[in-house]
Protein backbone atom coordinates (compact mmCIF):
# COMPACT_ATOMS: atom_id res chain seq x y z
CA UNK A 1 0.00 0.00 0.00
CA UNK A 2 1.23 3.45 -0.91
CA UNK A 3 2.20 5.33 2.29
CA UNK A 4 0.57 8.48 0.85
CA UNK A 5 -2.68 6.53 0.63
CA UNK A 6 -2.26 5.49 4.26
CA UNK A 7 -1.70 9.05 5.41
CA UNK A 8 -4.71 10.28 3.42
CA UNK A 9 -6.77 7.53 5.05
CA UNK A 10 -5.56 8.61 8.50
CA UNK A 11 -6.51 12.23 7.77
CA UNK A 12 -10.02 11.13 6.86
CA UNK A 13 -10.61 8.98 9.96
CA UNK A 14 -12.64 11.73 11.71
CA UNK A 15 -14.81 12.09 8.60
CA UNK A 16 -15.28 8.35 8.40
CA UNK A 17 -16.27 8.16 12.03
CA UNK A 18 -18.73 11.00 11.60
CA UNK A 19 -20.33 9.35 8.60
CA UNK A 20 -20.40 5.97 10.34
CA UNK A 21 -22.07 7.59 13.32
CA UNK A 22 -24.68 9.20 11.11
CA UNK A 23 -25.48 5.80 9.62
CA UNK A 24 -25.39 3.67 12.75
CA UNK A 25 -26.32 6.30 15.35
CA UNK A 26 -24.48 4.30 17.95
CA UNK A 27 -20.89 4.87 18.92
CA UNK A 28 -20.02 1.18 19.28
CA UNK A 29 -21.42 0.27 15.87
CA UNK A 30 -19.73 3.31 14.34
CA UNK A 31 -16.40 2.11 15.74
CA UNK A 32 -16.90 -1.26 14.11
CA UNK A 33 -17.85 0.35 10.83
CA UNK A 34 -14.74 2.52 10.83
CA UNK A 35 -12.63 -0.52 11.63
CA UNK A 36 -14.19 -2.52 8.82
CA UNK A 37 -13.80 0.37 6.41
CA UNK A 38 -10.12 0.71 7.21
CA UNK A 39 -9.50 -3.02 6.77
CA UNK A 40 -11.34 -3.13 3.47
CA UNK A 41 -9.68 0.07 2.27
CA UNK A 42 -6.23 -1.36 3.02
CA UNK A 43 -7.04 -4.55 1.14
CA UNK A 44 -8.57 -2.70 -1.79
CA UNK A 45 -6.00 0.11 -1.94
CA UNK A 46 -4.81 -1.16 -5.32
CA UNK A 47 -8.19 -0.57 -6.90
CA UNK A 48 -8.40 3.07 -5.80
CA UNK A 49 -7.91 5.51 -8.65
CA UNK A 50 -5.63 8.26 -7.26
CA UNK A 51 -7.15 10.72 -9.74
CA UNK A 52 -10.48 10.53 -7.90
CA UNK A 53 -11.22 11.99 -4.50
CA UNK A 54 -10.77 9.54 -1.67
CA UNK A 55 -13.87 10.56 0.34
CA UNK A 56 -16.58 9.09 -1.91
CA UNK A 57 -14.57 5.91 -2.39
CA UNK A 58 -14.24 5.43 1.37
CA UNK A 59 -17.81 6.41 2.16
CA UNK A 60 -19.03 3.84 -0.28
CA UNK A 61 -17.06 1.15 1.54
CA UNK A 62 -18.48 2.35 4.86
CA UNK A 63 -22.00 2.33 3.50
CA UNK A 64 -21.64 -1.20 2.12
CA UNK A 65 -20.21 -2.35 5.44
CA UNK A 66 -23.22 -0.83 7.14
CA UNK A 67 -25.56 -2.66 4.78
CA UNK A 68 -23.70 -5.91 5.48
CA UNK A 69 -24.03 -5.31 9.18
CA UNK A 70 -27.68 -4.32 9.37
CA UNK A 71 -29.15 -6.85 7.03
CA UNK A 72 -27.81 -9.53 9.28
CA UNK A 73 -29.14 -8.04 12.45
CA UNK A 74 -32.83 -8.26 12.95
CA UNK A 75 -33.06 -8.89 16.63
CA UNK A 76 -34.63 -6.12 18.58
CA UNK A 77 -32.71 -4.77 21.52
CA UNK A 78 -32.24 -1.66 23.56
CA UNK A 79 -30.83 1.07 21.40
CA UNK A 80 -28.48 3.52 22.99
CA UNK A 81 -28.84 6.69 21.03
CA UNK A 82 -25.62 8.56 20.47
CA UNK A 83 -27.34 11.87 21.05
CA UNK A 84 -28.21 10.78 24.56
CA UNK A 85 -24.65 9.89 25.41
CA UNK A 86 -22.83 12.74 27.14
CA UNK A 87 -19.41 11.70 25.88
CA UNK A 88 -20.68 11.79 22.32
CA UNK A 89 -21.70 15.41 22.63
CA UNK A 90 -19.25 18.03 21.52
CA UNK A 91 -16.96 19.51 24.09
CA UNK A 92 -17.45 23.16 23.27
CA UNK A 93 -17.03 24.88 26.57
CA UNK A 94 -15.47 27.86 24.85
CA UNK A 95 -18.34 28.36 22.53
CA UNK A 96 -21.27 30.61 23.20
CA UNK A 97 -24.30 28.96 24.72
CA UNK A 98 -26.44 30.17 21.88
CA UNK A 99 -24.25 28.45 19.32
CA UNK A 100 -24.42 25.23 21.29
CA UNK A 101 -28.16 25.38 21.52
CA UNK A 102 -28.38 25.94 17.79
CA UNK A 103 -26.10 23.00 17.19
CA UNK A 104 -28.17 20.77 19.44
CA UNK A 105 -31.34 21.90 17.72
CA UNK A 106 -29.80 20.94 14.38
CA UNK A 107 -28.73 17.54 15.70
CA UNK A 108 -32.17 16.99 17.14
CA UNK A 109 -33.83 17.98 13.88
CA UNK A 110 -31.58 15.62 11.91
CA UNK A 111 -32.71 12.83 14.21
CA UNK A 112 -36.34 13.39 13.37
CA UNK A 113 -35.84 13.39 9.60
CA UNK A 114 -36.36 10.21 7.61
CA UNK A 115 -32.99 8.39 7.50
CA UNK A 116 -32.76 8.83 3.73
CA UNK A 117 -33.00 12.58 4.08
CA UNK A 118 -30.61 12.76 7.03
CA UNK A 119 -28.07 10.72 5.11
CA UNK A 120 -28.05 12.90 2.03
CA UNK A 121 -27.85 16.06 4.15
CA UNK A 122 -24.90 14.56 5.95
CA UNK A 123 -22.97 13.66 2.81
CA UNK A 124 -23.46 17.00 1.10
CA UNK A 125 -23.76 19.64 3.81
CA UNK A 126 -21.51 18.14 6.49
CA UNK A 127 -18.99 16.09 4.50
CA UNK A 128 -19.22 18.51 1.56
CA UNK A 129 -19.47 15.95 -1.18
CA UNK A 130 -20.59 17.20 -4.57
CA UNK A 131 -23.94 16.06 -5.96
CA UNK A 132 -22.12 13.74 -8.33
CA UNK A 133 -20.03 12.22 -5.54
CA UNK A 134 -23.08 11.67 -3.35
CA UNK A 135 -24.82 10.00 -6.29
CA UNK A 136 -21.86 7.64 -6.53
CA UNK A 137 -21.86 6.81 -2.82
CA UNK A 138 -25.60 6.23 -2.68
CA UNK A 139 -25.77 4.53 -6.06
CA UNK A 140 -28.62 6.72 -7.26
CA UNK A 141 -28.89 9.16 -10.20
CA UNK A 142 -27.82 12.77 -9.69
CA UNK A 143 -31.37 13.93 -10.36
CA UNK A 144 -32.57 11.83 -7.45
CA UNK A 145 -29.85 13.34 -5.25
CA UNK A 146 -31.13 16.80 -6.09
CA UNK A 147 -34.81 16.12 -5.52
CA UNK A 148 -34.16 14.22 -2.28
CA UNK A 149 -31.71 16.83 -1.03
CA UNK A 150 -34.05 19.71 -1.80
CA UNK A 151 -36.92 18.01 0.05
CA UNK A 152 -34.59 17.28 2.96
CA UNK A 153 -33.38 20.88 3.15
CA UNK A 154 -36.92 22.24 3.22
CA UNK A 155 -37.92 19.70 5.86
CA UNK A 156 -34.93 20.67 7.99
CA UNK A 157 -35.62 24.39 7.56
CA UNK A 158 -39.16 23.83 8.73
CA UNK A 159 -38.04 21.91 11.81
CA UNK A 160 -35.51 24.61 12.67
CA UNK A 161 -37.98 27.40 12.13
CA UNK A 162 -35.90 28.95 9.34
CA UNK A 163 -38.13 31.09 7.18
Amino acid sequence: MDPAFGEALIRLLPNLRRYALSLARRADLADDLVQTTVERAIRAAGSYDPAARLEPWLFRITRNAFIDLTRRQRTEGVQVDVFDMPEALPDDGDRAVEARLMLQATQQAMKTLPPEQAEILHLICIEELSYAEAAEVLDIPKGTVMSRLSRARLALAERLGIK
Partner: protein, 238 residues
Protein backbone atom coordinates in the same frame (compact mmCIF):
# COMPACT_ATOMS: atom_id res chain seq x y z
CA UNK B 1 -38.35 34.12 -14.59
CA UNK B 2 -39.56 31.43 -12.23
CA UNK B 3 -36.62 29.79 -10.46
CA UNK B 4 -37.26 26.32 -9.12
CA UNK B 5 -36.06 25.05 -5.74
CA UNK B 6 -33.48 22.67 -7.13
CA UNK B 7 -31.84 25.47 -9.11
CA UNK B 8 -31.76 27.71 -6.05
CA UNK B 9 -30.28 24.89 -4.03
CA UNK B 10 -27.64 24.18 -6.68
CA UNK B 11 -26.73 27.87 -6.54
CA UNK B 12 -26.44 27.75 -2.75
CA UNK B 13 -24.30 24.61 -2.98
CA UNK B 14 -21.96 25.96 -5.67
CA UNK B 15 -23.08 23.28 -8.12
CA UNK B 16 -23.87 25.64 -11.02
CA UNK B 17 -21.24 26.52 -13.58
CA UNK B 18 -20.08 30.11 -13.69
CA UNK B 19 -22.37 31.32 -16.48
CA UNK B 20 -25.41 29.60 -15.03
CA UNK B 21 -24.64 30.89 -11.53
CA UNK B 22 -24.37 34.46 -12.83
CA UNK B 23 -27.64 34.15 -14.71
CA UNK B 24 -29.53 32.69 -11.74
CA UNK B 25 -28.00 35.19 -9.30
CA UNK B 26 -29.16 38.07 -11.49
CA UNK B 27 -32.66 36.64 -11.59
CA UNK B 28 -32.69 36.13 -7.82
CA UNK B 29 -31.61 39.73 -7.30
CA UNK B 30 -34.83 40.88 -8.98
CA UNK B 31 -37.07 38.44 -7.09
CA UNK B 32 -37.60 38.86 -3.33
CA UNK B 33 -39.49 35.60 -3.08
CA UNK B 34 -36.59 33.69 -4.65
CA UNK B 35 -34.22 35.42 -2.24
CA UNK B 36 -36.21 34.12 0.70
CA UNK B 37 -36.19 30.59 -0.68
CA UNK B 38 -32.50 30.76 -1.47
CA UNK B 39 -31.92 31.63 2.17
CA UNK B 40 -33.59 28.37 3.23
CA UNK B 41 -30.91 26.51 1.34
CA UNK B 42 -27.91 28.61 2.38
CA UNK B 43 -29.02 28.68 6.01
CA UNK B 44 -29.66 24.93 6.31
CA UNK B 45 -26.24 24.25 4.84
CA UNK B 46 -24.58 26.70 7.22
CA UNK B 47 -26.27 25.12 10.23
CA UNK B 48 -25.28 21.63 9.19
CA UNK B 49 -21.71 22.65 8.47
CA UNK B 50 -21.30 23.41 12.17
CA UNK B 51 -21.96 19.75 12.93
CA UNK B 52 -18.79 18.84 11.06
CA UNK B 53 -16.75 20.02 14.01
CA UNK B 54 -19.08 18.50 16.56
CA UNK B 55 -18.36 14.82 16.13
CA UNK B 56 -16.96 12.90 19.06
CA UNK B 57 -13.30 12.17 18.62
CA UNK B 58 -12.29 8.93 20.28
CA UNK B 59 -8.68 8.00 19.97
CA UNK B 60 -7.77 6.58 16.60
CA UNK B 61 -4.32 5.59 17.82
CA UNK B 62 -4.80 1.88 17.13
CA UNK B 63 -6.27 2.44 13.71
CA UNK B 64 -3.52 4.83 12.76
CA UNK B 65 -0.95 2.27 13.84
CA UNK B 66 -2.76 -0.38 11.81
CA UNK B 67 -2.73 1.80 8.68
CA UNK B 68 0.95 2.72 9.07
CA UNK B 69 1.80 -0.94 9.56
CA UNK B 70 0.04 -1.80 6.31
CA UNK B 71 1.97 0.94 4.55
CA UNK B 72 5.33 -0.20 5.84
CA UNK B 73 4.61 -3.87 5.16
CA UNK B 74 4.38 -2.98 1.51
CA UNK B 75 7.44 -0.77 1.74
CA UNK B 76 9.46 -3.64 3.12
CA UNK B 77 8.42 -6.40 0.77
CA UNK B 78 7.62 -4.35 -2.27
CA UNK B 79 4.50 -6.42 -2.82
CA UNK B 80 1.04 -6.67 -1.46
CA UNK B 81 0.97 -7.81 2.15
CA UNK B 82 0.45 -11.58 2.15
CA UNK B 83 -2.32 -11.47 4.71
CA UNK B 84 -4.33 -9.06 2.64
CA UNK B 85 -5.80 -10.64 -0.45
CA UNK B 86 -7.24 -7.96 -2.72
CA UNK B 87 -10.94 -7.58 -2.24
CA UNK B 88 -13.36 -5.70 -4.33
CA UNK B 89 -13.62 -2.18 -2.97
CA UNK B 90 -17.32 -2.43 -3.37
CA UNK B 91 -18.79 -5.66 -2.05
CA UNK B 92 -21.93 -6.79 -3.85
CA UNK B 93 -24.15 -3.78 -4.04
CA UNK B 94 -27.86 -4.04 -3.45
CA UNK B 95 -29.76 -4.32 -6.67
CA UNK B 96 -32.98 -3.59 -4.91
CA UNK B 97 -34.43 -1.72 -2.03
CA UNK B 98 -34.21 -4.68 0.29
CA UNK B 99 -30.48 -4.22 0.56
CA UNK B 100 -30.89 -0.58 1.38
CA UNK B 101 -29.89 -0.22 5.00
CA UNK B 102 -32.96 1.60 6.13
CA UNK B 103 -35.37 -1.25 5.75
CA UNK B 104 -33.08 -3.32 7.90
CA UNK B 105 -32.40 -0.51 10.30
CA UNK B 106 -36.07 0.00 10.91
CA UNK B 107 -36.13 -3.52 12.21
CA UNK B 108 -32.90 -2.90 14.08
CA UNK B 109 -30.96 -4.25 16.31
CA UNK B 110 -28.50 -4.24 19.00
CA UNK B 111 -28.22 -7.83 19.97
CA UNK B 112 -25.73 -9.38 17.72
CA UNK B 113 -25.22 -12.54 15.86
CA UNK B 114 -22.74 -15.30 15.80
CA UNK B 115 -22.79 -17.56 12.87
CA UNK B 116 -22.13 -21.12 11.92
CA UNK B 117 -21.82 -21.50 8.23
CA UNK B 118 -22.08 -24.70 6.33
CA UNK B 119 -21.99 -25.69 2.74
CA UNK B 120 -23.80 -28.25 0.69
CA UNK B 121 -21.86 -28.31 -2.50
CA UNK B 122 -23.35 -31.15 -4.47
CA UNK B 123 -24.40 -34.03 -2.26
CA UNK B 124 -27.99 -34.90 -1.52
CA UNK B 125 -30.85 -32.60 -2.48
CA UNK B 126 -31.62 -30.26 0.34
CA UNK B 127 -35.34 -31.05 0.33
CA UNK B 128 -36.51 -27.52 0.93
CA UNK B 129 -39.99 -27.00 2.39
CA UNK B 130 -42.67 -26.29 -0.19
CA UNK B 131 -43.28 -22.75 1.04
CA UNK B 132 -39.62 -21.89 0.60
CA UNK B 133 -39.63 -23.34 -2.89
CA UNK B 134 -42.71 -21.28 -3.74
CA UNK B 135 -40.97 -18.13 -2.52
CA UNK B 136 -37.83 -18.98 -4.50
CA UNK B 137 -39.95 -19.48 -7.60
CA UNK B 138 -41.75 -16.17 -7.47
CA UNK B 139 -40.92 -13.75 -4.64
CA UNK B 140 -39.07 -10.67 -5.88
CA UNK B 141 -36.01 -9.57 -3.90
CA UNK B 142 -36.81 -7.13 -1.18
CA UNK B 143 -40.11 -8.73 -0.27
CA UNK B 144 -41.11 -10.70 2.77
CA UNK B 145 -43.50 -13.62 3.00
CA UNK B 146 -44.77 -15.81 5.79
CA UNK B 147 -43.86 -19.46 5.44
CA UNK B 148 -46.85 -20.67 7.44
CA UNK B 149 -44.76 -22.41 10.08
CA UNK B 150 -44.08 -19.32 12.15
CA UNK B 151 -41.13 -18.24 10.07
CA UNK B 152 -40.77 -15.20 7.82
CA UNK B 153 -38.76 -15.35 4.64
CA UNK B 154 -37.05 -12.25 3.28
CA UNK B 155 -35.71 -12.47 -0.25
CA UNK B 156 -32.38 -10.64 -0.36
CA UNK B 157 -30.98 -10.86 -3.87
CA UNK B 158 -30.50 -12.99 -6.96
CA UNK B 159 -27.24 -13.87 -8.63
CA UNK B 160 -25.87 -15.67 -11.66
CA UNK B 161 -22.85 -17.81 -10.93
CA UNK B 162 -19.94 -18.06 -13.34
CA UNK B 163 -21.48 -21.32 -14.58
CA UNK B 164 -24.76 -19.58 -15.31
CA UNK B 165 -26.76 -21.04 -12.44
CA UNK B 166 -29.55 -18.83 -11.10
CA UNK B 167 -29.14 -18.49 -7.33
CA UNK B 168 -31.05 -16.56 -4.70
CA UNK B 169 -30.00 -15.35 -1.28
CA UNK B 170 -32.68 -15.19 1.39
CA UNK B 171 -33.15 -15.01 5.12
CA UNK B 172 -35.57 -16.97 7.23
CA UNK B 173 -36.33 -15.64 10.68
CA UNK B 174 -38.07 -17.06 13.69
CA UNK B 175 -37.97 -15.25 17.01
CA UNK B 176 -34.32 -14.48 17.61
CA UNK B 177 -33.00 -17.02 15.14
CA UNK B 178 -31.97 -16.05 11.66
CA UNK B 179 -30.70 -18.17 8.81
CA UNK B 180 -29.08 -16.75 5.72
CA UNK B 181 -29.31 -19.16 2.81
CA UNK B 182 -28.45 -19.35 -0.84
CA UNK B 183 -30.32 -21.77 -3.09
CA UNK B 184 -29.65 -22.40 -6.75
CA UNK B 185 -32.10 -23.59 -9.37
CA UNK B 186 -31.36 -26.98 -10.85
CA UNK B 187 -33.85 -27.92 -13.51
CA UNK B 188 -37.23 -27.67 -11.83
CA UNK B 189 -35.94 -27.85 -8.28
CA UNK B 190 -34.01 -25.65 -5.88
CA UNK B 191 -30.99 -26.83 -4.00
CA UNK B 192 -29.73 -25.02 -0.96
CA UNK B 193 -26.01 -24.50 -1.35
CA UNK B 194 -25.11 -22.28 1.51
CA UNK B 195 -26.60 -21.51 4.87
CA UNK B 196 -25.46 -19.66 7.91
CA UNK B 197 -27.35 -19.89 11.17
CA UNK B 198 -27.23 -16.94 13.44
CA UNK B 199 -28.28 -16.86 17.04
CA UNK B 200 -28.88 -13.77 19.04
CA UNK B 201 -26.49 -13.24 21.89
CA UNK B 202 -26.16 -10.63 24.56
CA UNK B 203 -24.06 -7.68 23.62
CA UNK B 204 -22.59 -6.87 20.31
CA UNK B 205 -20.47 -9.32 18.39
CA UNK B 206 -19.37 -8.32 14.92
CA UNK B 207 -20.89 -10.57 12.31
CA UNK B 208 -17.85 -10.47 10.11
CA UNK B 209 -17.42 -14.23 10.24
CA UNK B 210 -20.76 -14.73 8.56
CA UNK B 211 -20.18 -12.02 6.05
CA UNK B 212 -16.85 -13.55 5.20
CA UNK B 213 -18.43 -16.97 4.73
CA UNK B 214 -21.08 -15.61 2.40
CA UNK B 215 -18.57 -13.48 0.55
CA UNK B 216 -16.37 -16.54 0.16
CA UNK B 217 -19.26 -18.48 -1.26
CA UNK B 218 -20.10 -15.70 -3.70
CA UNK B 219 -16.47 -15.40 -4.74
CA UNK B 220 -16.04 -19.17 -5.07
CA UNK B 221 -19.00 -19.53 -7.40
CA UNK B 222 -18.08 -16.46 -9.40
CA UNK B 223 -21.36 -14.77 -8.61
CA UNK B 224 -21.18 -11.16 -9.67
CA UNK B 225 -23.29 -8.25 -8.53
CA UNK B 226 -26.91 -8.97 -7.64
CA UNK B 227 -29.24 -9.09 -10.64
CA UNK B 228 -31.30 -6.00 -11.33
CA UNK B 229 -35.04 -6.34 -10.61
CA UNK B 230 -35.64 -6.59 -14.37
CA UNK B 231 -33.07 -9.35 -14.89
CA UNK B 232 -34.39 -11.16 -11.85
CA UNK B 233 -37.95 -11.01 -13.13
CA UNK B 234 -36.79 -12.38 -16.48
CA UNK B 235 -34.92 -15.23 -14.78
CA UNK B 236 -37.93 -16.09 -12.64
CA UNK B 237 -40.12 -16.21 -15.72
CA UNK B 238 -37.84 -18.79 -17.38
Amino acid sequence: MQIDDETLMALADGELDQAEAARVSAAVARDPEAQARLRLFTETRARLKILASAAPAPSDKDLIARIRAASSAVQASGTVAPTAPPLSATPPVPANANRAPWAALAAAVTAAVVGLAWWQMGGTPAGLPEAEVAALDSLPSGQVTELGDGRDLTMIASYRTAEGAFCREYETAQDAGLTVSVACRQGDTWQRQFASDMTATDGYVPASGDIAALDDWLAETGAGDPLTPEDEAAALAD
